[in-house]
Every structure is written in structure tokens, then in C-alpha cells.
């Protein structure tokens, strides 16, 4: 060990520079990995819907009036009549439709309170192709009408005066009720001033349903979605979910476009055109910015790795070269090649290890700085070993070539004067 430490004490600049590089790179890498994961998590989350066979219609806004509940139903009927269509629902807050979202705050028996996206519309479980894991779907008699910005008479207020049945996701069931089975449990709004809250009762649980506020689908909140037993009443805005036969996807898409044009014509407000797109298309558009950001972060990771690798190789190469004579002497005195190789690898391990420890402290400091500017949670400790492993690998890869060169130094070098 002395043979490793002694040169470090005598020439401290080179190891100090390597150490500083490793510390900085480790700190930046941990934070970049974390930021990348924040972008990646919503992309990897299962949607829960029958993604390949789903078509969504949105951007339908009435000109100077509201659509009536009957028009909304007539639209559903027209869509169902299209060849290849299996199910159609008029809904609100549909997957990947982010024009308008409904946020609801819920609190369960564990007193954990969460903010969730609410979806509603008749028979959404069937139309979206959701997988029920417990309980049941809503009964036809349980639906109450509600629309955006419409006065529909006494029964269409948000406040129904009675407990509303809800279907929640498995992730929400775990969060709100822990190990207790969720079906039959009660939920309420945590705001004590909210008079319109008459509580919710869980009637069913679906496996997955990705929320439509994708920016919030991080830290395990991707499935924070509930289905409410509401159908669309008079409303200023309409959107439809349509599930089609896989064998007739293209024909059905064209049919849906025609049906929407026939049904709603040019009667939309402000020149807005109805949008008819497949789920896959909408998902692609929704993640465009996140993908661009991910590429940027990936480029950054590559740049950091290359710069650090080049730096370590350059410095170690020089440092090994400086000690050529010393290596020759050791070899002449009986040290084996493996010893020399091992010594350089261990030396690098020590320097990089120290750098990593400093880097972890810097990573946390950097995270706190980022949290100041950016809505970001604390850096989970699990990122530190990942960053450390990457840095160790870079360090060993960087030192390998110079160390092999060092091990190849013949003992005779010691007898020369240079």
C-alpha cells in the first residue's frame, strides 16, 4: 500500500486533478440521470388502455352556444354506426386529451391525500379497454350528467347531494388503502370547506390508467386517475373515445372522420377544427417535448463520459510515463507484471473512490440548487450508487491502457539513465 500512496503524496497535482474531475462528473451525472428519469417515467408508464385500437376526437367547441346532452348522445350513436367501431363514448378528460383536465383531491382511510385526474363518460371502462382487477363497472343507473360550463337544470350540478361511486386504479388503491381491499371503501375531499363533497365510494379497481397531465406522471403518480360515474350533459366542449376492430383500423379511422364531419359540420367555435387522431398519434405528440429533452440529456451524459474518460486517460498516461524508471526498478527487484498492473488499477480505484465520495456530496448540493429553481423532488439515494458505478467503470477503463503499458516496461529500463 505504501508504494501506492507514496507517489501520490509527492506529486499531488495529478491525482488532485483526476479526483476533482471525478467528483464533478459524478455530481453532474447523478443529477442528469435523475432529470432524465423524470422525463422517462411517464413514457414508460403503462397506459392501461387498448392503445392500438383507440381513436380520440377532441377540439369540438360549439359556436356561441352549448351542445345539448342529446347532441352528445347522437354523436355517440353516429360513431357506433361506423363500420369497424366497437364502442364509442362521449367523455371528459380522456387519455392524452389535455385541452381540459379535471383535478380532484381525495383522501382515504390512511389519511394520505392525493390530487388525481378524473375521467368520465358513459361506459369508459369498456370503450377504453381497461382491465378490471376488482369490483365492478358502474351500473347504468348510477350515471349523473355533467358538462363543462353548462347550466342543465337542477340535477346536473357538480354537487349531486349523494355519495358518488368511483373506480380507481390499483396504484391509487395501494396508496389510499394500503393492504385493505379498496372495493367498498370511502373517499372524501380533504378540504373541510368544500360543501359539495358528499364523499365517494369505490366500486371497482382497474389495473392501470395513465393520467392525462403527463407532467405530473412522475414519482409513481402515473396512475393517479379515477373514473367518475358521470355522463356528458349539456356542455361547451365535446370529446369522444372510439374503440375499433383491430382488423378494420384504417377504414374505421376514415369512417370516424366522416361521421364527425357529418354530425358536427363546420359548427365549431372560433374556426377550431375537430381533431380525429389515433391514441398512438396523440401519445407521440404529447411526448414530443419530453423526447427532445431526453435526447439533450443523453447527449450530455455522452459528453460527460467522453470528457472524463479522455481526461483520466491523459493524466494517468502522463503520470505512468513519469514513473517508467521506478517501474523498471521494481521489475528488476522482482515485481511481476501483474503486480504493476494491479497497483495502478488500485491507485486509480483509490483516487476515483475519493472523488466519488466528494461527488456524492456535490450531487446532493446540486440537487438542492436545482430544487430551488425547478419543481423537483429530492434526489433519491439510489442514484448515488448508479453514478458511482459509472464513474468507477470510467476510471478503470481510463487507466487500463496506461497501466498495461506500465506493466510492459522491461526491468532493463532501470539500468538506463532515463
Amino acid at each position: 500500500m505504501r508504494i501506492i500512496l507514496a507517489p501520490m503524496r509527492r506529486h499531488s497535482l495529478m491525482p488532485a486533478l483526476v479526483l476533482l474531475q471525478v467528483a464533478l462528473a459524478c455530481a453532474i451525472l447523478c443529477n442528469v440521470f435523475f432529470l432524465a428519469w423524470q422525463r422517462l417515467e411517464p413514457m414508460l408508464a403503462p397506459s392501461g388502455v387498448d392503445a392500438d385500437n383507440l381513436i380520440l376526437v377532441d377540439n369540438l367547441a360549439a359556436q356561441g352556444r352549448t351542445y345539448t346532452a342529446a347532441e352528445s348522445v347522437a354523436g355517440e350513436d353516429a360513431l357506433r354506426a361506423v363500420p369497424g367501431v366497437r364502442a364509442a363514448s362521449s367523455g371528459f378528460g380522456l387519455p392524452m386529451v389535455s385541452i381540459a383536465s379535471l383535478m380532484v383531491n381525495l383522501q382515504g382511510a390512511t389519511h394520505a391525500a392525493v390530487g388525481v385526474n378524473a375521467f368520465f363518460g358513459k361506459n369508459l371502462v369498456q370503450t377504453l379497454g381497461l382491465e378490471m382487477v376488482a369490483g365492478r363497472d358502474f351500473l347504468p343507473s348510477e350515471y349523473r350528467p355533467w358538462g363543462l360550463g353548462a347550466s342543465n337544470g337542477p340535477d346536473s350540478d357538480w354537487d349531486t347531494g349523494v355519495t358518488q361511486p368511483v373506480i380507481i386504479t390499483q396504484a391509487l388503491a395501494d396508496k389510499l388503502f394500503g393492504a385493505t381491499p379498496a372495493v367498498g371503501q370511502w373517499l372524501h375531499d380533504p378540504d373541510p370547506n368544500d360543501k359539495s363533497d358528499h364523499g365517494y365510494q369505490v366500486v371497482g379497481v382497474v389495473k392501470h390508467l395513465l393520467r392525462n397531465e403527463l407532467g405530473l406522471a412522475t414519482d409513481g403518480r402515473a396512475d393517479y386517475t379515477v373514473l367518475l360515474a358521470r355522463n356528458i350533459g349539456n356542455t361547451a366542449m365535446l370529446s369522444y373515445a372510439v374503440r375499433v376492430d383491430p382488423a378494420m383500423r384504417d377504414i374505421a379511422l376514415q369512417g370516424v372522420k366522416n361521421a364527425i364531419k357529418r354530425q358536427f359540420g363546420g359548427a365549431t367555435a372560433g374556426g377550431a377544427r375537430a381533431r380525429v387522431q389515433t391514441y398512438v398519434q396523440k401519445r407521440n405528440d404529447a411526448f414530443k417535448n419530453a423526447r427532445a429533452a431526453l435526447w439533450l440529456l443523453l447527449g450530455m451524459v455522452l459528453a460527460i463520459v467522453i470528457v472524463t474518460l479522455v481526461g483520466i486517460m491523459g493524466l494517468t498516461g502522463f503520470w505512468v510515463q513519469r514513473r517508467t524508471r521506478q517501474i523498471g526498478i521494481r521489475r528488476a527487484l522482482g515485481a511481476r507484471r501483474a503486480h504493476i498492473l494491479r497497483d495502478f488499477l488500485v491507485e486509480n480505484l483509490l483516487i476515483v473512490g475519493t472523488g466519488i465520495i466528494i461527488g456524492m456530496v456535490l450531487a446532493y448540493a446540486g440537487n438542492i440548487l436545482l430544487m430551488h429553481y425547478y419543481e423537483l423532488p429530492h434526489l433519491p439515494w439510489t442514484y448515488l450508487p448508479v453514478g458511482a458505478a459509472v464513474m468507477l467503470a470510467i476510471g478503470q477503463a481510463g487507466v487500463l491502457a496506461p497501466a498495461m503499458r506500465a506493466a510492459a516496461v522491461p526491468p532493463v529500463v532501470a539500468t538506463r539513465s532515463v
Binding site: L13, M14, L17, V18, L20, Q21, L24, A25, A27, I28, N31, V32, L35, A61, A62, G64, T66, M103, N105, V114, G115, L148, G149, A150, S151, P190, N193, D194, E213, L216, R221, Y224, N234, A236, M237, A269, G270, G271, K288, N289, A292, A293, L296, M300, A303, I304, V307, T308, V310, G311, G314, L315, F318, W319, Q321, R322, L370, Y373, Y374, E375
Partner: protein, 442 residues
Amino acid sequence: MMGYSMELALRGLRRYPKTTALAVLTVAIGLAASMTTLALLHMLSADPLRGRSQHLHLAWVDTVLAKSQTYRSLDSDWATYDYKRLKTPDAEALLAAHKGTLQAAMADLDAQVGGDKGEPSNEQLLATSSDFIPMFGVALQDGRNWTAAEDAARTPVAVIDSELAQKLFGTPKAIGRVVQIKHHAFRVIGVSQPYAPQPHFYGLNAWTFSGNERESIFVPFGAAIDVGLASSSTDGCDDVTEKSKQYIAVDPMHCEWLAFWVQLDTPQEVTAYRSFLDHYAQQQPLGSFGKKPQSQLLSVQRWLTLQNAIPDNVRLNVLLAGSFLLLCMVNVAGLLAAKFMRRGAEVGIRRALGASRRAVMLHHLFEAGMVCLLGGVLAWPLTLLGLALLRMQDQGFTDLARLDVAMFAALFALALAVGVLVGLLPSWRVSMVQPGLQVKSA
């Protein structure tokens, strides 16, 4: 001595060209990353109306006859959507009071605007009052602005920009022509140059930064209400408002939809206006809704800060790129240290022949500086490439990413500063070489 040091530095660059190239490349990448992100931040944080914006203030009084909306979602930042707008009667009252040098109420609306023939097109319309054009510095190239009397009479007149005039009439000379808005005729009385301050601080509800959106037509807001144009967003409505008139097409009499900006030239005027607003707020019958009188007078900068106009990730990227530049600097310092120490023997001889420590240090500082300046030169095209990549991203504001002269100057200043900082440590180290020792071992 300077010349000699410089010459040595140039020679030094050419030795070990691979190391030099690596160092130059590393500096270039670090600088380009920093400059790309800084250029974007610089564009986005620029003064929207130079020479004017320090006099402009957003005035707001709470007059909504309803309980305050306190419902906040637990994990969304949506509750912060409040653009401090006014209901029509209050905007009219503040206009009539005429307490500022200039004042105007305004709202961005979507409208279908048609000319003599052909399909009407979707345009951004600014419903406002007569002071807007002089107050916000819209340049009229032809015709006139409308008057306060025309505001009061709700006369259907319009000022359009030259590009819309070209589009509708095939010529920028459109004075006296008629545009159709919702099947109502508006007489064109003025033609302006296209107007698009960045950020769009007086209408953040419509957009914040955009390279392709701008209001192309200005009309008196009374006339806009008369033809049935309505805002699609509001900050709050009186309780009496029908629900159907709270979304999509809001009720202008009972919902907040007009932003009210006032020009105040001195601090005394600001103080006086603030007390005028307080007084106005105290007269509002809000007690029965459990609200206290509230008013606000905000400068442009304060308003942009409150509304978080500069996207978070722009600042985040500057931080990331800055830390990457730091890493590159340490890396280059290491490369240069290795390069310099390799010629320890040569330095030893120079020292033995009488070169001072200072001379050795200067030579190496020059060399480090030159590496970074070369890096700066190479960073230039790389920065332009980075900005081109940013513009391709289409996030609403990225199409504004451009490099201006000031930023070019900053790039080279930064390169030089990096050079000196990076060079200090290795240069000092090599100047510490003992003359005797090196000569002996060589």
C-alpha cells in the same frame, strides 16, 4: 518579453498536437453548451419594450362579487393561473378616471377576419382602448389611431398590421377599406407595422413567447363586445353569471377578462395611483363574500417574475451547461498540466539559464489562453449549430433562440476568462520546476 513568451507559446501549441487538439475541442464543447443555453436565456429575459416598459404598470382591483376561489389541487400548479384582469365596468371606470399619463384595457381574442372576398382567416385580435397604440409603441405606418370619443361611442373601426392588409387586400394601403368580423363591418383607419414584443407581457394568458403569433388587428373593446366577440378565459366571475357564460365565451360584464395597464412616469405618480386603487378597492361591496379589499399595481418586471414567464427548464439548462463547462475546465487544466510537465526538463534548462519564474509562468499562461481562444473560435459554429437544434425543438419559445453581437462578445470574453483560469494552476506548477534537479535527471 511578452513577444518571446508568445512565440514560445505558439511553438508549445504545435508540440504534442493531439493533446492540444483534445484540449481545444473540450473547451469548444463546454463553451458552446454554455453559450447556447445562455443565448436562449438572454433572449427570453430581455426587456420587452426598451425605454417604455419601466413606466408601464398592471393595475388590478378585486371587484368580483363571489367568494374567493381557494380550491387548490394537491399536485398541480394550476391554481396559479390568475392574470389579474378586470370586469368591463371597472375597466371603464379606471379609464374614465384618467389618473395615469396613458392607460388602456386590453384582451386577446380569436377572431375570423375577412376582407372583400375570399375565405376569412383566423387572426389574433386585440380588443383594447385608444391609448394602447401610443402607450405600447405600436408604429403606425399609415392612417391614424382611434380616439377616446370613438372608444366611448363603440365605433367599429380597426387598426390592422401591414401583413394582414397585404393578406386581405393584396396591398398595405388599406385605409378606408372594410374588414368583416363576425359578419360586422369594421372600417380600417390605420395600418401598423407588425407588432410582437417578447415576452407578450400584457397578455400572458394567450401566449408568453412566440415567433409566429402576434395580434394583427386592434379594435375598440366596446365594439368587439357589440359584435359578440368574447374571451375564452377569465380569472373570476360574479355569482350571478350563468354557468354557460363562464367558459368558452365569458360574460364581459360579470367576468374578469380585460387587463388594465397604466403608464406612470415618476415614483410620485406610482404612489398616487396606488392610493387611488386602494380607495377604489375599499368602495367595493365585497364584505358579504368574506373578502377584504384588494388591489395591486405591478411593474412589468415584477409581473413577469410573478407569472414565471421564463420557462424553468431554460434556467435549468443554463445550470447544467455551466456545470459541464466547469468539468471541461478541470479536464483541460489536467491536459495542460500533463502537457506542461512533460517539458519539465526544458523548463529546467530555461530556468538554469536565467529565465525567471514569472517568464515561465507567462509563457504557459499564454499557451493556455491560446488553447481557450482557439476553443472559443471553434465554439462559435458549434453554438450556432446548438441554437439551430434548439429552434427545431418547437416549444413555443425556442424559435426565438438567436445569437446577437453582445453574446458573441460575451463568448470570447468567456473563452479568455476560462483560458486564464484553466491555465493558472498548471502554469504555476511548471514554473515551480527546480532548475538543478531537472538538468541532472535529463
